[in-house]
């Protein structure tokens, strides 16, 4: 195959990127484990320190992904923004439904705060992973 074919040209668009997708998926993994711990103790109070540690780990992973993302120069920001906003809308609705179920089930106090923050990280991490995966293969702006 000659290098002048359009297909060969598009192969060159695969650029190395920092592990942003892995970091945001790691954040998702932490909040999922935290959610399992909280849900498996319901209606009793779950051990909050463990869930808090997982929440903090998720926040650090997601913030690291955000920092690495913000430092990217050769990146299709237009595609990222376009995918991120719609995915955020979809996962905000899903998170809202789960939050509604917890509130309706009389989850209150620190447990509710933890659940809410975990759902916020869930609603941000999934769109970040999706939008980054799409934008990394998109043509540069």
């Amino acid at each position: 195959m000659s290098a002048s074919t359009p297909l060969a040209h598009s192969f060159d668009a695969d650029r190395p990127y920092p592990p942003i997708g892995w970091l945001s998926s790691g954040a998702l993994g932490c909040v999922v484990v935290g959610g399992i711990i909280l849900a498996s103790y319901a209606p009793r109070t779950a051990p909050l320190p463990l869930a808090t540690v997982l929440l903090c780990a998720a926040a650090v992973l997601l913030a690291s992904a955000g920092v690495l993302l913000a430092r990217l120069r050769a990146f299709s920001w237009k595609t990222f923004g376009n995918v991120f906003k719609w995915a955020l809308l979809a996962y905000a609705i899903t998170s809202g439904m789960i939050e509604f179920a917890f509130v309706h089930d009389h989850t209150r106090g620190p447990s509710l705060v933890l659940v809410t923050l975990m759902l916020v990280i869930f609603a941000l991490s999934v769109p970040t992973t999706i939008a980054f995966t799409v934008a990394r293969f998109a043509d540069l702006d």
């Binding site: 195959m1 074919t5 359009p6 297909l7 598009s10 192969f11 668009a13 695969d14 997708g21 945001s24 998926s25 998702l28 993994g29 999922v32 484990v33 959610g35 399992i36 849900a39 498996s40 319901a42 209606p43 009793r44 595609t79 995918v83 719609w86 979809a90 609705i93 899903t94 439904m97 789960i98 509604f100 179920a101 917890f102 309706h104 089930d105 999934v126 992973t129 999706i130 980054f132 995966t133 799409v134 293969f137 998109a138 043509d139």
Partner: protein, 205 residues
Amino acid sequence: MDDTVARDVATSADVATSAPPRPKIQVVPLAGLPFVGAAVLFVALSIGFNWQWGLMFNHVVGGGLWTGIDLFVGFVIGPILGRLSIPARAEFSARFMPKMAIIMPTIVMMTLATGFQVARSAGNLAASSPNHAWLVVSFCVVGIMAVIALGVLEPANIAVLYEMNKPVPNGERIGRLMKRFIYTAGITGAMQVATLIIMTRLGSR
């Protein structure tokens, strides 16, 4: 193996240059959104009014479809896709993936949002319940499936659709992303077998 990929890629290049202009793929089919809206409303009302039939309907129908689709895609569609040429995979995906992009999040939302409520009203959440341990195992299975599906499978699906909307899609890249889809669909399909065992056990005690 490399020859096969090279042949597939060359074929996809031929397709790209000789085929008539392709219609643009709608990543999220807008015609499906009213059904999603209706499902969200139904779930919200069922939870809000503690409507037992609504909760059970959403959980059983959503969970049944989720399990069935995962098993079918993982063990039937996935292996077939893996044996197709890259242009054929692209052609199939262009019609299949947008539907999955709207169906799967909706049935997952129906199942998960109502599942907690169903478990609570059935008394399975109580630590003293003989079903409690099985319930916690089901949380873990769903958690692993969620991370795989949301962290790997769905991003690959959407990336394939965007790639196919380019004027000259990269056949090798589509093949690579589709391989990711095929493997993860197989893993979630296998995990759904565990879900079937747990849920039928919970229902029969």
